[in-house]
């Protein structure tokens, strides 16, 4: 396999890992943020947590794998991005730690104050994570100050520009909608109606934000800098988002879930095709951008990693998919059936 082929392959593989992460952990984040608002009574909150209890940790591994794969395949990208977005990533880690530990610990003590504290930590941790991930990706699309030595020269406030913030808030909204759809599929009875009512409101806000983000991206010229034109992909993303609203109004949660999931996938496809072959655009000087060519590992490492991925990715997909199939039943608020 030629060196360039491998570099493109790994760009695509990392894109796939991020798509998988946003698709799966996206609804986890949404469920987490909705938890204190949709769960009135303790068993309702427990039911909400139980919808993702068996899968959230596995979903989060997509992020770890995306990080590890970036390190292995594009060490310069990993080094520049992770050191450059230092404080943002620190806050992301705090968010992930708080929500992760809270899932496991909140129901292990009966005191209402204990539980309430962990519930809010789940919500705040999920919110923080979604916001920061969205802002980080928006900044990658926009470009960040990078010098000739592939070093990030900004700070946390560099990332807090209007486009970055809009990207963050829109991501929060999409994940809320994705989470609400997921809850609609997993809960039953009165809870299901409550979720549907909330989803409709979230959908309206999300759609406005999403279109705003799209217009901003287009007007600011952020999507014409790579060599691939995303073409109709972003338009399709808007269409599926509109369709999600249509299905929500008819209480067809399954279809609405699929539409929002597609929206997330298509948004990521747009993002990655917009940037290709750049992985980090330099706003200081476009020639100093990190690309798949100047940021990648050696041909040998990419070859080895391709073989590893070829063997293990299908296995992982098979058993993760199988888990969802095993736990496909709806979750009731019956205390005897709740685990977390």
């Amino acid at each position: 396999m030629s060196y360039e082929f491998l570099q493109i392959l790994w760009f695509i593989l990392i894109a796939v890992l991020w798509i998988g992460f946003f698709f799966l952990e996206g609804f986890d984040f949404g469920v987490g943020m909705l938890l204190p608002f949709l769960g009135k009574k303790d068993e309702e909150r427990r039911a909400i947590i139980n919808t993702i209890g068996s899968v959230w940790d596995g979903n989060e591994v997509w992020l770890l794998t995306a990080g590890g794969a970036t390190f292995a395949a594009f060490p310069e990208w990993y080094a520049t991005m992770f050191s450059g977005f230092y404080l943002a990533l620190f806050l992301l880690l705090v968010g992930l730690i708080l929500r992760g530990i809270s899932f496991e610990y909140r129901s292990k003590d009966a005191a209402p104050a204990w539980r309430n504290r962990f519930d809010w930590m789940i919500a705040i941790g999920s919110f923080l994570s979604a916001l920061l991930l969205g802002a980080a990706f928006a900044n990658l699309a926009r470009g960040v100050p990078i010098n000739a030595d592939k070093m990030f020269t900004g700070n946390l406030f560099t990332l807090l520009n209007p486009y970055g913030l809009l990207g963050g808030v829109t991501t929060v909204a999409i994940f809320l909608l994705h989470g609400a759809n997921f809850l609609g599929l997993k809960l039953e009875g009165e809870m299901r109606n409550r979720v549907n009512a909330a989803a409709k409101k979230i959908w309206a806000v999300t759609t406005v934000l999403y279109i705003l983000l799209g217009v901003f991206t287009y007007v600011a010229g952020f999507w014409s800098r790579g060599v691939v034109n995303p073409g109709i992909v972003p338009i399709a993303a808007v269409v599926v988002l509109l369709l999600a609203g249509y299905f929500l109004n008819r209480k067809m949660e399954g279809w609405s879930f699929i539409m929002v999931a597609l929206n997330i996938v298509l948004t990521q496809v747009t993002f990655f095709s917009m940037t290709f072959p750049n992985v980090m655009l330099s706003t200081t000087n476009p020639d100093w951008s990190l690309t798949i060519y100047n940021a990648s590992s050696s041909q040998y490492t990419l070859t080895v990693m391709s073989i590893v991925a070829l063997i293990f990715v299908p296995i992982v997909l098979a058993y993760q998919g199988w888990t969802y199939y095993m736990f496909r039943k709806r979750i009731s608020t019956d205390k005897k059936t709740l685990v977390y």
Binding site: G68, Y78, F82, I101, E104, Y300
Partner: protein, 464 residues
């Protein structure tokens, strides 16, 4: 403040903390899998209770290892970007494999195990705990292979690419066949088993002295004593092999942990040494003649190189600089680790012997056992401090120094924010974790039988 010192401090804090929880995960997973297998085979309710009770403690501990593990993977890039650029071509590979092969397996199957009882077929449920335990231990293997590249980079595995100014992988099998990594792995998984054994011993002893659930805890104690003994012998053998390998690949570390200033043949082992303030000269010591030669090469006559000779040699090889690790740390952490390791071995041997002689539940010494839980934790932390500080000033032994590896764009303010932040978050996690561990350990097996915690006594912890 210096960003190198702050970055090192943060790495030490987050890594030592992470490693307080991981060994228990590594070892206790096997225990729970074994208990559940016995239950599956015999349908005896005692084994079921054992699975549930020790499984609860396993899960409470597991959660902290998971959430602090994400920090571990991110901070190479966040704090050590120049390191990541210089060796990412090599070091990134085992990390990516760890995530893909081990983390997915561990998290997915543990999820099935936690939620699956009564929902998935019994065989699948049993297999899931074995796979989760295997996944954790596989992740240990991959991260240790990565770490062993920093300790003893195999010459056949890499080349220097002058054009890109970095090291590149040329032989993946040399990287993953690194003997250092496999000895580490052996030492580490047996250490995990010993840690788990001591937790079971301590909690069982707590209940035995209170005459609660005697049959349950006596059986737990007996199993843990045997496993603890076997594991501590394996730890010793692994450590001994590591010492001999160290003589070849990290002679300076070996000299520094033994406080051998001048090259000796045969080399004596110092039981106790007092050095002068510079740490470069010996003032007084008690020594066993020839013993160091035995530790380093299995005979009583071989030569062990001293710190001063190695320092001179390294200056010639790598240019001026201080190549001696902080000896007061390497010397004492090594002795703490070894001493506690031997105490653990002796104690578990004593437990096994006592058990063969009569009823251990009536033994007077039982009341001292719960306090012994501290031993594996201290031995463990000491061992890793020794391993990592003995590598100084190198981040990759002989190839890259720590001071050249840090992220140059960070400011002291950035680092103080994250350092204080991690300390606060990790501190609170520890408080919650210790509270829950104590609560469930004290509540005993009956409370752990309820899948839903609501059904469990609201105020567990009463002594009777």
């Amino acid at each position: 403040m210096d960003i190198v010192i702050l970055s090192r401090l943060q790495f030490a804090l987050t890594t030592i903390y992470h490693w307080l929880f991981v060994p228990l995960t590594l070892g206790l997973g096997w225990f729970v899998a074994f208990f559940q297998t016995r239950y599956y085979q015999t349908k005896d309710e005692t084994w079921h209770k054992m699975t549930k009770f020790w499984g609860k403690l396993f899960l409470i501990n597991f959660a902290i290892g998971v959430v602090t593990g994400i920090v571990q993977e991110f901070q190479f890039g966040m704090n050590w970007s120049e390191y990541s650029r210089y060796v990412g071509d090599i070091f990134g590979a085992p990390l990516a494999v760890e995530a893909l092969v081990a983390f997915f397996m561990e998290s997915t199957f543990l999820g099935i195990w936690i939620f699956g009882e009564g929902r998935v077929p019994e065989k699948v449920h049993l297999a899931s705990i074995w796979l989760a335990a295997l996944g954790s231990n596989l992740s240990a293997l991959w991260i240790l292979l990565a770490n062993s590249f920093m300790q003893a980079p195999p010459a056949a595995s890499y080349v220097f690419n002058a054009e890109k100014g970095r090291l590149e992988l040329v032989n993946f099998f040399a990287l993953i066949g690194n003997p250092k990594g496999w000895i580490f792995f052996w030492h580490t998984i047996s250490d995990g088993l010993a840690m788990a054994a001591f937790l079971i011993l301590a909690v069982s002893a707590y209940h035995i002295i209170r005459k609660q659930n005697l049959a349950f805890f006596k059986l737990s104690f007996q199993i843990a004593a045997v496993v603890g003994l076997v594991a501590s012998v394996l730890i010793f053998l692994g450590g001994h092999t590591m010492g001999q390998y160290m003589r070849e690949v990290q002679p300076m570390k070996l000299a520094a942990i033994e406080a051998i200033w001048e090259t000796e043949q045969p080399a004596s082992f110092s039981l106790l040494t007092i050095g002068d303030l510079s740490g470069k000269k010996e003032v007084w010591s008690i020594r066993i003649p020839g013993a160091m030669s035995f530790l380093a090469c299995n005979n009583f006559t071989c030569e062990v190189k001293g710190v001063n000779e190695l320092q001179a040699q390294y200056e010639q090889q790598y240019g001026p600089g201080d190549y001696v690790p902080l000896m007061i740390v390497t010397y004492w952490t090594f002795r703490i680790m070894m001493a506690f390791g031997f105490v653990m071995m002796g104690m578990t041997a004593f437990f096994v012997w006592s058990n063969s002689r009569g009823d251990i539940t009536k033994a007077k010494w039982m009341k001292w056992v719960p306090a012994m839980l501290i031993l594996p934790y201290l031995a463990n932390a000491s061992g890793w401090i020794l391993t990592e500080m003995g590598r100084q000033p190198w981040i990759v032994y002989g190839l890259l120094k720590v001071q050249d590896a840090v992220s140059p764009n960070l400011t002291a303010v950035d680092l103080l924010i994250s350092l204080i932040g991690y300390t606060a978050v990790y501190g609170s996690l520890a408080v919650a974790m210790v509270y829950l561990m104590k609560k469930y350990a004290i509540a005993g097996p009956d409370a752990a039988m309820h899948e839903s915690v609501d059904v469990a006594p609201a105020r567990v912890g009463s002594q009777d």
